[in-house]
């Protein structure tokens, strides 16, 4: 497999403003808090908002392809600044499409931008309920998932 290109993390200028709004930031760049919107904003950090929007787009399987010549404003210069120690590649491998892995940063941006456009126009801090579609009312996991410890014992006997 060839080396995957890793882009910066960002959004359209409107998208960046929206993410700033979700985290109670003013429209100006930087971390400046907007006293008007911050008290009711649903997120503390832009990273929390960005991650939630990315997962929304990814699980829905919807990317908003970058238009030719369209430029994105950078939010994080490096994808690791968004993912921290989490392995976002496996998320894209599992829930995304094969081409997502060609440029992970681009894929993350496009999933997120779809989510931004999806909720931006109807957004209100009082009705924000991204969680509602993701409630899990199935049986508890212990009844269904395989015994991870058992896996490890068998696997370790290979060597």
């Amino acid at each position: 497999m060839s080396e995957k290109k890793i882009s910066q993390i960002g959004a359209t200028s409107e998208g960046v403003l929206f993410i700033r709004k979700l985290a109670g930031r003013s429209e100006e760049s930087g971390a400046k808090r907007d006293d008007e919107i911050a008290p009711t904003a649903p997120f503390k950090e832009m990273k929390d908002a960005y991650r939630a929007l990315f997962v929304f787009g990814l699980i829905k399987g919807m990317r908003l392809p970058t238009k030719p010549g369209q430029s994105f404003s950078t939010i994080y210069a490096n994808v690791n600044m968004l993912t921290d120690s989490y392995d976002y590649r496996i998320l894209l491998e599992t829930f995304g499409k094969d081409e997502d892995l060609k440029d992970i940063g681009k894929a993350i941006n496009e999933y997120t931008n779809w989510a931004i456009e999806e909720i931006r126009s109807d957004y209100s801090p009082d009705t924000f309920n991204l969680h509602s579609e993701f409630e899990d009312d199935s049986e508890s996991e212990s009844e269904k998932l395989p015994d991870i410890i058992g896996d490890w014992i068998i696997e370790s006997q290979r060597y």
Partner: protein, 698 residues
């Protein structure tokens, strides 16, 4: 005096529709009758509005209606409270306005009655309604009550306090009403007279009122005052002996003190009057503001609530922001779980391969060991292997090659599809998310709902006071508050001055007596005779009062005894009723000895006899309304009470028996010749209202 007609509109359980609509006709009790009989009865099951009828007449006359007496000390005493004009049924405050009407937004109610007195017909009405037409009434502050009395014969009319004074002086004084509105439950008060000397001070005062004692008692104090005046005159004219000179100087000093105290009293009274006037003026200003002050207070209260709820909402938003740090992980959980479940078959397949790999590796190791050393025992069973021939050795070597080849295939397959690694990578996203996002959202929604509700209230209160200068209202209230302090000071000073004055007058009186004892002239002799004469009159007055009290008591005793003997089932067993100076009541048996351990029934009958006797002594002709007349007594006594009142009394007598005391048809057939009218009250559960049905009309 005769009660001719009573109308109730939206009075307690007597529901009516708004005036002009169907069912808006007031509920009527027509007391007119051709027979001239005086017996009336209102029958009905419990909670049908029977007692409300008595309450209605009392409210019409005195503007007050009370809750049923409730004992908070195990029955020793009973307390009752004033009923509000309006109230929501859920508050259980026993309001006077029908609660269905209240909920329907009809806040008008009234009681009207027609009385005949000395050939004149009097129309009385007490009407309650909102202070402003169309106002949605919340409590009594939003209501006003008006009283109106009209002499239909002469056309004279009275309203407000004049009408109230007319009722008190011409119809029935409020303090004597207890002798005409008799309640089986309140008869307990009279029974307390039999048991104790200390209780029911108010009741004893009412009994003295009905016997005109207060007027006579005032006469005694008037004589004392007159004597003091003459003694003062005497002192000022007494001859100047050395001793008298000294005494007169002292009297002069005391008079100075009295003068100063009186001056101080006058000044204080002026100050008190001015303060009271000022308060009255300010209260009038406050009343011009209507409910503004209340609305300001309520608005401020709601604003504090609003701030509190806003700060709680801010906390909830802050919590949400904290929770939403994990929102992305939460959103992944369901998909990750499903994904891992989907990996299960592959995982099982892989485990099988791993197991196969292990088995083949063991076999390979065994065969390779055999090749190295034929005498190596088996690793599993520890037995020496059977000796191998060449053929067997070749076969084993072939198997070794095959196993090696298989193991390479298995290894490749395991390396190419590492489902376990994938599962483990996905597992790293598995997390227990403590936050309950739905609950959090519901909390926010609920809090916002509460906020909207409170904001609505604040806005309502604010719009009600938009045209009010709040500073002015607060200023007026502050002034009233300060004046109340002044008023309290004045009253305290008044008490101090009165006490001082009393002491000075008493001291002066003692000195005057010393002066008189020191000798006199012709003028002084005359004054001394005057004093003696006044003292003589005073003595006669006191003796007369004692005699009058004694005679009054004897009259009450005699009448009460007579009634008691008529009412009791065992007239031969009792001699009479006696009253002590505090109107403590004792029943004497046939041997003139006090009855030991009287039964509740006997005490009830004795109490009713006393009430009846006092009513007769009052010389007031007013219908007697007896609610639950049969309480605590047996059927025999009940029948005697009815017979006594309906046949022996010249006034109308209305009984309102509780269900179980009397059966309507039995009473009507037995006392057909004594009955004027009877009614039956029913309660329409569907419409939640009392209905009045005429039964007997004689």
């Amino acid at each position: 005096m005769e009660l001719r007609y009573v109308e109730l509109y939206n009075w307690t359980s007597y529901w009516n529709a708004p005036l002009g609509e169907e069912n808006s006709t007031a509920h009527c009790f027509d007391f007119n009758c051709q027979s001239g009989n005086k017996g009336y009865a209102i029958f009905g099951e419990n909670s049908r509005g029977k007692s409300s009828f008595t309450d209605a007449i009392q409210w019409l006359l005195f503007g007050k209606a009370w809750t049923k007496p409730v004992s908070t000390d195990g029955g020793r005493t009973q307390k009752k409270t004033l009923r509000p004009l309006v109230g929501n049924p859920k508050d259980q405050s026993f309001p006077l306005l029908n609660t269905t009407a209240f909920l329907e937004g009809n806040f008008n109610f009234f009681v009207k009655a027609i009385f005949k007195m000395n050939d004149d017909i009097y129309q009385l009405s007490r009407i309650a309604g909102p202070v402003e037409e169309g106002l949605v009434v919340e409590d009594d502050d939003d209501m006003e009550v008006s009283l109106h009395v009209k002499n239909a014969s002469s056309g004279e009319e009275w309203g407000g306090s004049e009408a109230q004074d007319f009722i008190g002086s011409e119809i029935l004084p409020e303090k004597l009403s207890r002798f005409f509105f008799i309640d089986g439950e309140s008869v307990t008060e009279y029974r307390a007279l039999i048991a104790s000397k200390d209780e029911n001070v108010e009741l004893r005062s009412n009994i003295e009122d009905i016997l005109n004692f207060p007027v006579l008692k005032k006469g005694i104090s008037d004589f004392k005052s007159l004597k003091e005046d003459i003694m003062s005159e005497f002192s000022s004219n007494t001859k100047s002996t050395k001793k008298n000179k000294k005494l007169l100087e002292q009297i002069k000093d005391i008079e100075g003190d009295i003068k100063r105290t009186k001056k101080s009293q006058e000044a204080n009274q002026k100050r008190l009057k001015k303060t009271k006037d000022d308060i009255k003026d300010l209260e009038a200003i406050m009343s011009n503001f209507g409910n503004a002050e209340k609305n300001i207070i309520e608005r401020d209260k709601e604003q504090i609530r609003l701030e509190d709820k806003n700060s709680r909402l801010a906390e909830l938003y802050e919590d949400r922001r904290g929770d939403n740090q994990d929102l992305w992980l939460f959103m992944l959980q369901k998909s990750i779980k499903n994904q891992i479940s989907e990996l299960l078959p592959e995982l099982e397949q892989r485990l099988k391969l791993v197991e196969l790999q292990r088995t083949k590796s063991t076999r390979l190791k065994h065969l390779e060991n055999l090749s190295n050393d034929e005498n190596l025992p088996c690793e599993t069973c520890n037995q020496l292997p059977s000796p191998r021939d060449k053929k067997q050795i070749k076969k084993d070597n072939d198997e070794i090659d095959e196993i090696k080849s298989n193991l390479i295939e298995i290894e490749t397959s395991l390396d190419e599809n590492n489902v376990l690694e994938k599962k483990q990578r996905l597992e790293k996203f598995r997390a227990f998310i403590k936050a309950d996002f739905s609950k959090q959202q519901k909390k926010i929604d609920k809090q916002k709902g509460l906020l909207e509700e409170i904001e609505g209230k604040v806005s309502d209160y604010q719009s009600a006071i938009d045209n009010i200068d709040e500073d002015e209202v607060a200023g007026v209230r502050e002034k009233i508050k300060k004046l109340r302090v002044v008023e309290a000071d004045c009253r305290a000073k008044e008490r101090r001055d009165s006490k001082n004055l009393e002491e000075f007058v008493s001291e002066k009186s003692a000195k005057n007596r010393q002066v008189i004892e020191a000798g006199g002239t012709a003028l002084l002799d005359k004054l001394e005779k005057k004093i003696k004469l006044v003292e003589w009159f005073e003595k006669i007055w006191v003796e007369s009062l004692d005699r009058f009290s004694q005679e009054s008591r004897e009259n009450v005793e005699s009448t009460a005894s007579e009634v008691f003997k008529q009412l009791t089932n065992n007239p031969e067993g009792f001699s009479r009723i006696v009253l002590n100076e505090n109107f403590g009541l004792t029943v004497l048996d046939a041997n003139d000895l006090p009855v030991q351990n009287p039964t509740p029934g006997m005490m009830q009958v004795a109490a009713i006899s006393l009430i009846d006797a006092l009513g007769l002594m009052s010389n007031i002709e007013f219908p007697i309304l007896f609610d639950t007349p049969g309480q605590s007594i047996d059927q025999g006594h009940r029948d005697k009470i009815i017979e006594h009142y309906w046949s022996e009394r010249s006034t109308q007598f209305i009984i309102i028996p509780s269900s179980g005391e009397f059966r309507a048809d039995e009473v009507e057939s037995r006392y057909q010749k004594l009955i004027a009218r009877t009614w039956e009250l029913d309660f329409d559960n569907k419409e939640n209202k009392t209905t009045v049905k005429n039964r007997v009309i004689n």
